[in-house]
């Protein structure tokens, strides 16, 4: 892209190609759109001419027949249940994570005692105990919520502890020397400092909750989303399968985006 020394600057009557190139160089988002469009075109061509219809449907058909996914008996109900499971699991993770995070982060003794245990649990692959959740909580929403909480709670605890620990001791000392009570210190020093890490933890927690709930949903193939994905897979119906996956992916991206926006909004005060 850099100009070689000695090249003449382009004359004003450039060719159309050069003008297009310049337009795209100034707008990376347009080039990004072209890349996405090309991916869809490649998918369309592959599905129409090269891949067997029982494995892959072209995007045009997937998106125009999206309504048939919702018309399938039971799918809207299953999506509704999944969404409510994600919501409940997320709220529970935030509530429990906040309480445990504050309890562990604000006390040095409990921090030293329990933080290694929490980090160890965070590092274990929870997917291995998924069958236990089904065994204890059944195949209904309870097991999915519990599994979602088990994935969402640890990132929230860890970020809240880190946020509480990162407060400069000088701030607390100066508040104390000015005669602040414990509650005042919490309300006016610790709480405002916690907010950015709280929202960062919520975002990571949401990613975890989505993973946990979807894993449990896919694992239980006799009810809910998992039933329909395995139904569409086994009946070789890629159109509906891709439609259902797109709806779920859109749901996941939307939920992530809401939490990410909230995080950006509430950590602004620290940046300026």
């Amino acid at each position: 892209m850099t100009m070689e020394p000695g090249t003449v600057p382009a004359p004003p009557n450039r060719t159309a190609w050069q003008r297009i190139k310049k337009w795209f160089l100034a707008r990376p988002w347009a080039a990004r759109l072209v890349v996405i469009l090309m991916l869809f075109i490649a998918w369309e061509i592959a599905a129409r001419f090269f891949v067997d219809k029982i494995f892959l449907s072209p995007p045009s058909i997937v998106f125009t027949s999206l309504h048939t996914v919702f018309e399938t008996n039971g799918v809207p109900r299953a999506l509704e249940i999944s969404a409510s499971e994600i919501l409940v699991a997320f709220l529970m993770s935030v509530a429990i994570g906040l309480i445990v995070g504050l309890g562990v982060g604000l006390n040095r003794f409990s921090h030293r005692s329990f933080m290694p245990i929490i980090l160890l649990l965070y590092g274990t692959p929870q997917i291995t105990i998924l069958p236990l959740f089904i065994l204890y909580f059944g195949i209904g929403p309870a097991s999915k919520i519990a599994f979602g909480v088990s994935h969402g709670i640890f990132p929230i605890i860890v970020t809240i502890v880190a946020g509480v620990q990162n407060i400069k001791p000088i701030l607390i000392t100066s508040a104390k020397s000015m005669g602040a009570s414990r509650w005042h210190i919490f309300r006016w020093v610790i709480f405002p400092h916690m907010i950015p890490s709280f929202f960062a933890g919520m975002r990571l927690g949401m990613t975890g909750v989505l993973l946990g709930v979807l894993l449990a949903e896919l694992y239980v193939s006799t009810a809910g989303i998992g039933y329909f994905t395995s139904l569409f897979t086994q009946s070789f119906n890629p159109t509906k399968l891709l439609g259902l996956i797109s709806v779920l992916a859109a749901m996941a991206i939307g939920l992530n985006e809401i939490v990410r926006r909230a995080e950006l909004h509430y950590s602004r005060w620290r940046m300026n």
């Binding site: 040095r108 003794f109 030293r112 005692s113 395995s230 996956i245």
Partner: protein, 256 residues
């Protein structure tokens, strides 16, 4: 002197607390299952779990499942690290392509990849291929994003000074770009490895014919809970060892 003694006493108290926590947990588990009348199908006795674990280790029946899971992991990680680092390097060559591609990959990264498992099962069947595909998809994004971040944001002053001292393209890469980018790429590779392991275990749990995740589900469905607990403990230890090994490798490679 007394301050360090205080600290030692405090850390000793924390160790004691951790020890007490584990002992109470196992004690309640033991007493509850021995005298509390909890069904062994729901929660097996820890002693029974220990015996099953010893049996699993002694008979070596874990070997075939472990081999399959590790084979899937190694294949998936080799593919995603090769493709991710190469593609990331090529993209990082120009600021323009970084600005085109990086938001694209970052956006895709927020989709839970596990959603594609039914699709991969449709494409690749229930065998190892669908697990490898899922492992590749999961680990590809952290690896390529970190590679772009590593190579793309090397301080320009280093590149300029190397150029002005007459460094060749290869010398520039070997002595400036690579050392500057390596720590960030290694972090990406570690994250990629961890999530590949998780997604492979997960996909084995959801739908498969073999592997450690499959074994756990099979025992759970057969209500052989004690042996399932033994396998869970086995897999957790394997996963912790693998993660620790990768973290250690990362830390060692980062040391200048």
């Amino acid at each position: 002197m007394s301050a360090s003694g205080d600290r030692r006493r405090a850390s000793l108290a924390s160790r004691g607390m951790q020890f007490a926590f584990v002992v109470i947990l196992v004690g309640v588990w033991y007493l509850g299952t021995t005298y509390g009348g909890i069904s062994p199908i729901l929660l097996p006795n820890p002693v029974a779990v220990y015996h099953e674990l010893m049996d699993v280790l002694a008979t070596g029946e874990y070997v075939s499942d472990l081999r399959i899971t590790l084979m899937e992991l190694v294949t998936a990680f080799s593919i995603s690290s090769t493709v991710g680092v190469t593609l990331g390097y090529l993209i990082s060559r120009s600021q323009y392509s970084i600005r085109v591609f990086e938001p694209l990959f970052a956006g895709m990264y927020s989709v839970p990849v596990i959603l594609f498992l039914p699709l991969y099962i449709l494409f690749f069947g229930l065998g190892p291929a669908s697990k490898i595909a899922l492992g590749v998809t999961t680990s590809f994004f952290p690896i390529i994003l970190n590679t772009i971040a590593g190579f793309g944001y090397v301080d320009r002053i280093f590149v300029l000074s190397a150029r002005s001292m007459g460094a060749s393209e290869f010398q520039l890469f070997r002595w400036v770009l690579l050392p500057a980018a390596l720590p960030i790429i290694l972090t990406g590779l570690r994250i990629g490895f961890t999530v590949a392991l998780l997604s492979i275990l997960g996909s084995e749990t959801i739908a498969s014919l073999a592997g450690l995740g499959h074994r756990i589900v099979q025992l759970g469905e057969g209500m052989d809970t004690a042996r399932m607990f033994a396998y869970i403990a086995f897999v957790v230890v394997i996963a912790l060892i693998l993660n620790m090994a990768v973290s250690t490798l990362e830390a060692r490679a980062k040391r200048p």
